[in-house]
C-alpha cells in the first residue's frame, strides 16, 4: 500500500467551479476529489492511478445548503455531518438523515460528501436509496452545459454514473415533501459499522385513516448493480390497506425484484431474503409511527 505515489501526485485547489473545470479539463487523467474518503483509499490500493487531483473543497458555493421556495439544494461539497445536522434537512427529509447516520464513522462523515457518495456510484451507496425515494435530482455542470439528472436515473453500472467526462456534480436538489409523508431507511451489515449488504429506503404517504397507502416510493441498495427503485413493490402497496398479508406479498415481490450477487459480505440468496424482510419492516415501522402519532 505504500508507494502509492501520493507524494508525487500534483494537488490542485481551485477557488471556483470554472477554475476547477478548467484545470480538470486541461490535465489528462486528473480526478476531482471531494472528501476523499473513498478515492484516497483507491489510490493507495493502486485501483486508481490519476495524474493529478483537483480538490473541490475550497469552492465555497459547492458547500452551501439552501432552502428556496420549499426546495432544498444541498451543495455537492456539503459534508455528511453538515447535511445530517442541518435543521431543514432534519425536518423535511428524515429518511436521508437516517441513512447518513449509518455511514461509517464520525471521522468519515465529517469530511465525506453526499456528492462524492453519489459520484462513486457504489451499488451499496447509502446516500442513494433515500434520495431516490425523495425524488431528488442532481445538478451537473461542465461538458455540454448545465443539466439535471434524477438520482433514480443517475447510475448506470457499478461505479458508473451518467456524468460525461469533464462534468461536475454541483448540487442535489430536493423538492418539498407534501405532507403527510414519512420515510425510513434500514440497512443490514455484518456488524453495526459496516457497508450495507442490503438496504431499503421507503417513503410513504398514508391516508387519513392511517394505513391505506396512498403513495409509496421504495428503493434498495447493495442488491443490484446500482441502487434501484422497487416499483413492483410500490405498485403492490399503493391504494391498499397495509396488512400483514400484504406485507408478506411485498416480501415476495421485493425478493424477486432485486438482483444481488454473492460476495464476501453475503450470498445472493441471503440478500434477497433480507431485502424482503427490510421492505416489510420499513413499511411496518412507518405505519407504526403513524399509529403512534
Amino acid at each position: 500500500m505504500s508507494g502509492h505515489g501520493l507524494r508525487r501526485l500534483p494537488y490542485h485547489k481551485p477557488r471556483s467551479i470554472a477554475e476547477a473545470l478548467e484545470v480538470h479539463g486541461s490535465t489528462e487523467g486528473a480526478r476531482f476529489i471531494a472528501g476523499g474518503t473513498d478515492l484516497v483509499v483507491r489510490i493507495k490500493d493502486g485501483r486508481e492511478r490519476p495524474s493529478a487531483l483537483v480538490s473541490l473543497r475550497g469552492i465555497d458555493e459547492l458547500r452551501a445548503i439552501t432552502v428556496d421556495g420549499g426546495e432544498t439544494t444541498i451543495g455537492a461539497q456539503a459534508t455528511l455531518t453538515g447535511i445530517a445536522s442541518h435543521p431543514a434537512v432534519r425536518e423535511q427529509y428524515p429518511v436521508l438523515c437516517e441513512a447518513i447516520s449509518t455511514i461509517a464513522s464520525v471521522q468519515i462523515r465529517n469530511v465525506a460528501t453526499l456528492g462524492g457518495n453519489l459520484c462513486r456510484a457504489s451499488p451499496c451507496a447509502d446516500g442513494a436509496p433515500p434520495l431516490i425515494v425523495l425524488g431528488a435530482r442532481v445538478r451537473v455542470t461542465g461538458g455540454a452545459g448545465p443539466r439535471e439528472i434524477p438520482v433514480e436515473e443517475l447510475f448506470t453500472d457499478p461505479g458508473q454514473t451518467r456524468l460525461e467526462p469533464g462534468e461536475l456534480l454541483t448540487s442535489i436538489v430536493l423538492a418539498p415533501v407534501e405532507q403527510p409523508q414519512r420515510g425510513t431507511f434500514l440497512k443490514q451489515g455484518r456488524v453495526r459499522v459496516d457497508l450495507a449488504f442490503a438496504s431499503i429506503a421507503a417513503q410513504l404517504h398514508l391516508g387519513a385513516d392511517g394505513d391505506v397507502c396512498e403513495k409509496a416510493r421504495i428503493a434498495a441498495g447493495a442488491v443490484a448493480p446500482t441502487p434501484v427503485r422497487l416499483s413492483k413493490v410500490e405498485e403492490l402497496l399503493v391504494g391498499e390497506r397495509i396488512t400483514p398479508e400484504l406485507l408478506d406479498r411485498a416480501y415476495e415481490i421485493a425478493r424477486d425484484e432485486v438482483r444481488p450477487i454473492t460476495d464476501v459480505r453475503a450470498t445472493a440468496d441471503h440478500r434477497r431474503h433480507i431485502s424482503g424482510v427490510l421492505c416489510r419492516r420499513a413499511v411496518e415501522r412507518i405505519v407504526g409511527w403513524r399509529a403512534a402519532s
Binding site: 500500500m1 501520493l6 493507495k44
Partner: protein, 167 residues
C-alpha cells in the same frame, strides 16, 4: 494554486502556527509523523477504518491518513500532543483514561482520546449511546471498550466538576 509538487503551508498545530513542506497529495499522517515529528498520531490501517490516526481539524475529528495535508492550510489542527497543558498536566480526558483503565497497549489511545475530546467539547453530559456513536470509528483490540466508556464518563464528570456543574 498551481499543481507543482512541493508546497509550503502554514497552519495552526496545537495552538501554535507551524510551517510545513508538503509534497503533492501526501496525507496529514505522513506530514505530522515526518516533518513535524509528532509521532502520537498513529497509523493503524492507512484507510480510514481504524481511527488510530484521528486528529481534530477545526474541532471536528478526521482520519489523518485520508486528509491531504494541503487541505489543512490555514486551519486549526489538534493532535494528541496538544491536549496536555503547557506544564505537562494531563487534560481531563487523558487523566480519566489513565484513572479508569481505558488504556492497554495504547496504540489506539491517541485517536480514541481525541474522539472523546471532540465529543466532550460539545457536551459534558453525554449519554452512553452518544459516547459509543462518537467512538464507533476507533477500533480497539485490547480493551473490549468497557473501560473506555467508563473513562469518557469519568472525563465528563471531571469536566462538569471543573465547570462547577457537577450533578
Amino acid at each position: 494554486m498551481s499543481g507543482t509538487l512541493r508546497h509550503e503551508i502554514r497552519f495552526t498545530l496545537n495552538g501554535a502556527e507551524v510551517v510545513a513542506d508538503v509534497n503533492g497529495s501526501e496525507v496529514l499522517t505522513d506530514v505530522l509523523r515526518g516533518a513535524l515529528a509528532q509521532a502520537g498520531t498513529r497509523e493503524g490501517c492507512g484507510k480510514g477504518e481504524c481511527g488510530a490516526c484521528t486528529v481534530l481539524v477545526d474541532g471536528l475529528t478526521e482520519n489523518a491518513c485520508l486528509t491531504r495535508a494541503l487541505e489543512v492550510e490555514g486551519r486549526e489542527v489538534t493532535t494528541i500532543e496538544g491536549l496536555a497543558g503547557p506544564d505537562g498536566e494531563l487534560a481531563p480526558v487523558q487523566k480519566a483514561f489513565v484513572e479508569k483503565g481505558g488504556i492497554q497497549c495504547g496504540f489506539c489511545t491517541p485517536g480514541m482520546i481525541l474522539s472523546a475530546h471532540a465529543l466532550l467539547r460539545r457536551t459534558d453530559t453525554p449519554e452512553e449511546a452518544e459516547i459509543r456513536e462518537a467512538l464507533a470509528g476507533n477500533l480497539c483490540r485490547c480493551t473490549g471498550y468497557v473501560q473506555i466508556v467508563r473513562s469518557v464518563q469519568r472525563a465528563a464528570e471531571i469536566q462538569r466538576g471543573e465547570r462547577g456543574t457537577d450533578g
